[in-house]
Amino acid sequence: MSRVSSFRERVAWSALSTYIMVFFVFFWTLPQSWTDRAGDPKMSLLALGAFVLIVGAQWLGRALEAPKRESQPDEREQLIALKADRIGGMVTMLGAIGVTATALLFGYNAVFLANLVLAALLIGQIAKTITQLVYFKAGA
């Protein structure tokens, strides 16, 4: 029996690889800005813009490229999406709590904290996408 990926599984793979590729530089620069507790606002805005563009492009791509019979997710795909949203949401929430605690305890400047918030959002998205891929492989 051949294992053919569904449209949504392929979308998840492309999303994961794009997140990792585009934000590699961003995550690379984050530890460097940690030492001076500042961060580069240009890099943050660039990363934020890229993040919005990627999510927007994925929505558009899904709407335009979905095969006709797969235009709506079926019940298993909806269940996987819900489970992945839950995990991704929990990771993002933990990240937000971590950033808040960092701000309260150490009082870093706004740009550096914005970098941390962005990192939390991205890690949440990556966790969500990985969860989707795991459930697509496992069945549901």
Partner: protein
């Protein structure tokens, strides 16, 4: 999973119906049919009835629940 099924046999008995053809009849993706057939995913009641209807057999001829 305590729910077993005879989808593979029923497909064979229905002229080697393909997973894609069954998926089309049920209104799910082929990957979902594969997951159900391999007991990796328990379908909703509606999808289960649709699968039984695709083979023109009652629900209990497709799915079996083993207690414990």
């Amino acid at each position: 999973m305590p729910i077993d099924n005879d989808i593979r046999r029923l497909r064979f008995e229905n002229g080697e119906m393909t997973q894609a053809a069954l998926a089309e009849k049920v209104g799910v993706t082929r990957q979902t049919i594969i997951a159900i057939e391999q007991n990796k995913y328990a379908p909703s009641l509606e999808a289960a009835f649709k699968i039984a209807d695709a083979f023109s057999v009652p629900l209990e001829s497709v799915f079996k629940w083993s207690k414990g």
